[in-house]
Structure formats: C-alpha cells, structure tokens
C-alpha cells in the first residue's frame, strides 16, 4: 500500500503537474508565431453559453481547480481541453483530466469527449444548445467541471489509491439556454448525468451572467483597457437523483469570474468560488489559460488537397 502511494506521489506526478506546465510553455511559444485571434467566449468555467467555437478554429485551454477540504487533503486538479469548431452549429471537445492531492499523490484521471449542437440556425431571445458528453474517468477525478446529484467534498476525502480503482463510464447531457441582452450574457444549464454502471440519473444546474467592462472598442490596440476584460458570476450545484430529487444534502457554489482577453489571442481566466452548504468545499480557486488557433481546419484541409 505504501509503495503504491509512493509511486503515485513520484512517477505519475508527471501527468498531473509537469505535462500541463510543458503544454503551457508550448502554448506560449505557439502564441508567439500563430496569427492573433480572439473569439467571443464567455468567462465561465462551469456554465456553457450558446456561443460555439468558430468553424475551423482549434482552442487549447489549460485549466485547474484548487479546492480546500474540511476532511482530507486539499488538492489541485488540472485539465486540458482541445475544442474544435467542426461546423457553425457543432463544436466538439476533448478533455484530459488529472489531479494532485497534497500529501497523497497525483494521477491522470481520465478523459471526456463532449459535443454541443445548436438546433436553431438564427439568434433568438433564448438560444438552446444540446450537449452530449461521454466520460471515461476514475473515482479520483477532482476537476469538478460539473456538480451533480449529491457530489460533495466528502467524495474527495478518500485517498487516491483507493478511489482511483473505481472506473466511471458516464453519459452527461445538458440543455443549455443562453441569451445576450444589452452586452450581458445570461446562461442557464440543466444537467442530467448517468453512470452507465447501473446508477440512477443525477441532476444539476449552472447559471451565470457576464458582461464586458466596456461595450464599445477603442480605436487603438491595448492590453489593459476595460474592453478586454469580462466580469461575471456563476452559481452551480447538484439537484439530487431520480431516486431522491432534492436540495437537501447537495453542494452549491457561487463564483465570480474574470476573463482578460489579450489582443495576442491569449485569454486568462480566474474564478474564486465559495461553497454554500455544509457538503460543499469551503473554497475553490479556478484558473485557465486559453489560446485559439484560428484557421487550424483550413491548414488540415490543405493536407488533403
């Protein structure tokens, strides 16, 4: 048992810590040579809006979730996203998850493949998006990209070598509703997740609002001007399961978010979050670094001509 924990602490630490840092370095190098691009992304970490990736654009994002524990050890859970605009109405995304629990160990915790579809081709007051995701993760996953059912901080108190033995094959669906109004984006997500191993459906929600600090652009290129910052707040949590649809015993969080969209195409995001119930983590801190490779699809297509 001790040897196993040591191995987690040592060898596999590479997966959770070194790889994200290496990729961050590569991202910075790519950013220096790639054409500048900046999309219209919302600053949220958990909530989705109806804005999909532009067709042919590949977005790479490194994010992390730090959380404090009442019982057990605090942890940091980095993940990498590869998001591609396959069509104007279809975005596909791959996640690679990892985590490092202090005084315990680090490991790769699995992958997710998500797809988002816009069924309506025009913009409306409320814009629906259908979301389907397949997850192949283990029980040690701590990215908390969604909170559903009775997810709570107690789930993250178990040591890695124990909980990592549990494999989860899950289907997650979301109904995303999103509106843009006078510079604000307001988004609501309704989540239903099913572990394919004979578990009940688990439900959750995420709601958010955000707005650029300045609506009109200035005429000159600038890094620190208000037009490049988007501020907002999101709230998310679990809603029980099909066996027990209730708020009692569920976790809920509120988290201000701030995004800095630099003209170079790099976006930095930061979000401190606070748990609202006894079952929630007391404090979360998320950060993200994003870079978009616009024209990626065009370059790949050119290989086939």
């Amino acid at each position: 048992m001790g040897a196993h924990a040591d191995r987690l602490d040592g060898g596999i630490l590479l997966t959770a810590v070194r790889i994200p840092f290496t990729l961050a370095l590569l991202l910075t190098v790519f950013a220096a040579f790639a054409p500048p691009s900046s999309a219209q992304d919302t600053p949220y970490f958990i909530t989705y809006s109806h804005h999909l990736e532009e067709p042919g654009t590949l977005e790479i994002e490194l994010s992390s979730n730090y959380a404090t524990q009442h019982v057990g050890n605090d942890f940091i859970a980095p993940w990498i996203e590869f998001e591609y605009g396959a069509k104007g109405w279809w975005t596909t995304e791959l996640y690679l998850d990892s985590q490092h629990t202090f005084n315990d160990g680090a490991l790769f915790t699995g992958w997710r493949w998500e797809n988002r579809f816009r069924p309506l081709m025009k913009d409306h007051w409320i814009n629906p998006v259908l979301y389907v995701e397949y997850e192949d993760i283990n029980g040690a996953d701590k990215t908390m990209i969604e909170v559903v059912g009775f997810d709570g901080q107690a789930d993250h108190a178990v040591r890695n070598f124990v909980v990592s033995r549990e494999h989860k094959h899950e289907i997650e669906t979301k109904l995303i509703l999103s509106s843009d109004f006078k510079g604000f984006n307001i988004s609501e997500n309704f989540i239903a997740e099913k572990n394919l191993g004979h578990q009940p459906w688990e439900f959750g929600y995420a709601i958010a609002a955000s707005r650029p600090l300045r609506l009109a652009a200035t005429s000159s290129r600038c890094n620190f001007c208000r037009e490049n910052f988007v501020a907002g707040v999101e709230m998310y949590g679990g809603l029980g399961t099909t066996d027990s649809a209730t708020l009692s015993g569920t976790s809920h969080y509120i988290a201000p978010v701030l995004a800095w969209q630099m003209p170079s195409g790099i976006t930095l995001r930061l979000s401190p979050g606070w748990g609202l119930t006894d079952t929630s983590h007391r404090f979360l801190l998320r950060w993200g670094l994003t870079y978009e490779f616009s024209g990626f699809g065009h370059k790949v297509r050119s290989w086939f001509r």
Binding site: P36, G88, W113, D180, G183, R221
Partner: protein, 136 residues
C-alpha cells in the same frame, strides 16, 4: 498510456473527419451566399441607424475588431479567401448597415459563418462602420 492514446486517436479522427468533410464542400468565394443570407434580414433592419456612421474613431475601432475576429477568414484586405466572401463586392456594400449588423448577429451557420452575437452590438456597429468605409 493506452487510456491516453485512445482519446488522442479519437481527437485526430474527429479533426480529420470534420476537415475532410469541409473539403468536399463547394467553394464559393463570391458574394452569392452572403447576398442571399443578408436578404433574409427582416425589412425593419433597413431602418436601423448606425450610431457611429462615418466616425473616424469608429472606423479605426472597427478595423481593429475586423483584424481580430474576421480577417483570418475574409483576409486582411476583406477581399475574401476560400469560401469566405469578398466583403468589398456589391452584395455586401449595397446592404444597409442595419442588415449587416443583423447578419453579424445571426451568421450563416450552415455555410460556416459564425454568429457574432457574443460581441456587444456596439462592436458589431463598429465593424459595419469599417466595412462601409471600404467602399470609398
């Protein structure tokens, strides 16, 4: 490693599938597609007034936004590239500012033009102001 390689294969396959699918699509490069898409704008949009019309600051801001969001597809000189329309052609330049700002909000998702409703309407007007300045 096996757990890591499968998603990478999946990602590569998805990218190749999506890219190869797009490669089979017909190239247009002219303004037919954008003209018909703009023609779907409601009549009321023709009466929308551009709050920044002709303002030099708005043209400069619009150019900055254009280079940031649009130039990768439509080219820096707005003459189009591949399937992306030439924005200097009559189909675009004869449209009213209101029709263009409506089109930017809605896009033409089936033909690959994204919706830019995530940009505040003030910035969409600035982009339209810049596009209209190209007519001169």
């Amino acid at each position: 490693m096996r757990r890591l390689s499968f998603p990478l294969v999946l990602l590569t396959a998805s990218a190749i599938f999506a890219a190869a699918g797009s490669a089979r699509e017909k190239k247009s490069g002219d303004d037919r597609g954008v003209t018909s898409a703009i023609a779907q704008a409601p009549l009321a949009t023709r009466d929308w007034q551009n709050p920044y019309e002709g303002q030099p600051d708005a043209i400069a801001a619009g150019k900055k936004l254009y280079l940031r969001h649009c130039a990768e597809c439509h080219a820096k000189d707005a003459r189009g590239r591949g399937r992306a329309a030439n924005l200097r052609l009559p189909g675009v330049q004869n449209a009213t500012p209101g029709e263009l700002v409506w089109f930017l909000r809605n896009g033409n998702l089936w033909r690959g033009m994204p919706s830019w409703s995530g940009l505040p309407v003030e910035r969409r007007w600035q982009i339209v102001t810049y596009l209209k300045s190209l007519r001169r």
